[in-house]
């Protein structure tokens, strides 16, 4: 319980800073819209079922926008040696990573909501038909992205090529999660029935979340120790 309340304190701090400066929110939001615009040149948007494409498109946008948010997560603590101060404080490393992940999770969900709305307008897509199920998929997949992003944000924070190394490391790791999210989102947006084959991807999301969250908690100390 103690560890969780520390994590909550970190997340609240990060979100408070973010909502005041809107640093990564503006950047990631604008980036997501720009990518949605670019995709319109790559694909035939006049095709009869844009929702089919949107499921795949959206998760690529979220992965790209997410990398911006994850990069900021720990880089934010670099000026004035804030990270050293946080490590010296009684806050456990695992709480620090989970707290950062939760802050990124909230920010990414906001960017996702904006992108979904924009995608609905740009690509003439009805996304409100199965909103509760879609929300569950988004929450599960976004948590997976956030926890991996937070761990690797911590891992790359001291590297020379931080901005470059983070995407190179996280995208291959996120493939199972992104595949699952794309399958489920595609099925929900096109209003298809959730067959057992599609539902299996839900299990992939849950397993991914559980395994990577436990590993993040176990390895946080080793990654953040200086």
């Amino acid at each position: 319980m103690n560890g969780l309340s520390y994590a909550w304190a970190i997340a609240r701090k990060d979100l408070a800073v973010e909502f005041r400066t809107k640093e990564s929110l503006n950047a990631a939001g604008a980036f997501a819209i720009v990518i949605l615009l670019l995709f319109s040149f790559a694909f035939d948007t006049a095709s009869d079922e844009p929702a089919e494409l949107a499921g795949k498109l959206l998760w690529l946008v979220f992965a790209f926008a997410g990398a911006l948010i994850f990069n900021r997560g720990f880089a934010r603590e670099m000026p004035n040696e804030c990270l050293d101060a946080l490590m010296a404080s009684p806050i456990p490393a695992a709480s620090l990573v989970v707290g950062k992940a939760f802050a990124s999770f909230v920010l990414l969900l906001i960017v996702e909501a904006v992108s979904l709305f924009a995608c609905g307008i740009f690509y003439n897509m009805n996304w409100t038909r199965r909103l509760p199920a879609l929300f569950i998929v988004f929450v599960l997949a976004t948590w997976g992205l956030s926890i991996v992003g937070a761990v690797f944000g911590a891992l790359t924070v001291n590297l020379r090529l931080r901005e470059l190394m983070l995407p190179v490391l996280i995208y291959p790791l996120m493939i199972p999660l992104l595949t699952g999210a794309i399958e489920l989102t595609g099925a929900l947006l096109t209003n298809q029935p959730l067959t057992p084959d599609v539902l299996l991807w839900g299990r992939v999301l849950i397993v991914f979340d559980v395994v990577f969250t436990s590993l993040a908690i176990l390895l946080a100390e080793a990654i953040l120790l200086n």
Partner: protein, 252 residues
């Protein structure tokens, strides 16, 4: 015969004839030569069996023989990645850089074997399917595995401080292994959904002639021996590099 000597030369050529100063390094040298030599003998025997004794496969013809390298290379790579993961855990709990060097060496050699797997598979696919590549779950998962461990090497390259490099790359090694498990599990779950031209013989079911299947496992041994000798070599380089680095730091 020229086919037979090729892989042997490439494994032998990697052994440098550098000055062996301490008694310990002489033992290591002998170990490398012993493993590589044993691998050479076994490989020569296996190549004879594969090309001269075993007949062509009924439907695929001569090209099926690539499986005798394709599958053992994958097995070698995965054994390596898992051993490296275990060593990474050992490093994190003991903080002895020896384990880090070994894990790095194993991951690097395993990456080479993973590439052998994907290249041989691609050649086979060109002949049998008519295409070099398809975005099938199995192929994709192997590519993901290669990309993760390529990232591992990139990460090691971008960190100068040895203990930091060891800690961070150990963490990535553990994460990478878990992801491979997840990717491979998802293939099992979705196999029935994708009955397409995937390599079903790789699962080893009842679809394969026992003598052919035995040849696959027999060829795993020399490939593992080559991997081990390369790992010993690479681990020694790694620890020498670390020693040089620490000497340089002391001077500066």
């Amino acid at each position: 015969m020229s086919i037979q000597t090729k892989p042997l030369n490439s494994s032998d050529a990697a052994v440098p004839s550098g000055p062996a100063t301490s008694a310990n390094s002489v033992v290591v040298d002998r170990l490398i030569y012993a493993f590589a030599g044993l691998a050479a003998i076994l490989l020569a025997y296996n190549l004879y069996q594969i090309f001269m004794v075993l007949g062509d496969e009924l439907q695929q013809g001569a090209i099926y023989r690539i499986i005798f390298f394709h599958v053992p290379a994958a097995l070698t790579a995965f054994i390596g990645f898992f051993v490296a993961m275990v060593l990474s855990v050992v490093y994190l709990s003991t903080n002895n850089l020896k384990w880090d060097s070994l894990a790095a060496a194993i991951n690097e050699v395993s990456l080479v074997f993973a590439c052998v797997n994907i290249v041989t598979g691609s050649i086979w696919a060109r002949i049998i399917w008519g295409i070099w590549w398809t975005w099938d779950y199995r192929l994709t998962s192997m590519l993901v595995c290669i990309l993760i461990f390529f990232g591992y090497l990139l990460l090691r390259q971008s960190i100068d401080e040895p203990t930091q490099r060891a800690r961070l790359s150990a963490a990535l090694s553990i994460f990478g292994c878990v992801d491979i498990v997840i990717v491979w599990k998802s293939i099992e779950w979705f196999r029935t959904q994708h009955p397409g031209p995937v390599l079903s013989i790789r699962t080893g079911g009842g679809s394969m002639d026992p003598t052919m299947e035995a040849a696959i496992y027999r060829n795993l041994i020399p490939l593992l021996l080559i991997a081990i000798s390369l790992v010993i070599l690479r681990a020694r380089q790694e620890s020498t590099a670390r020693e040089i680095d620490s000497l340089r730091r002391r001077l500066m």
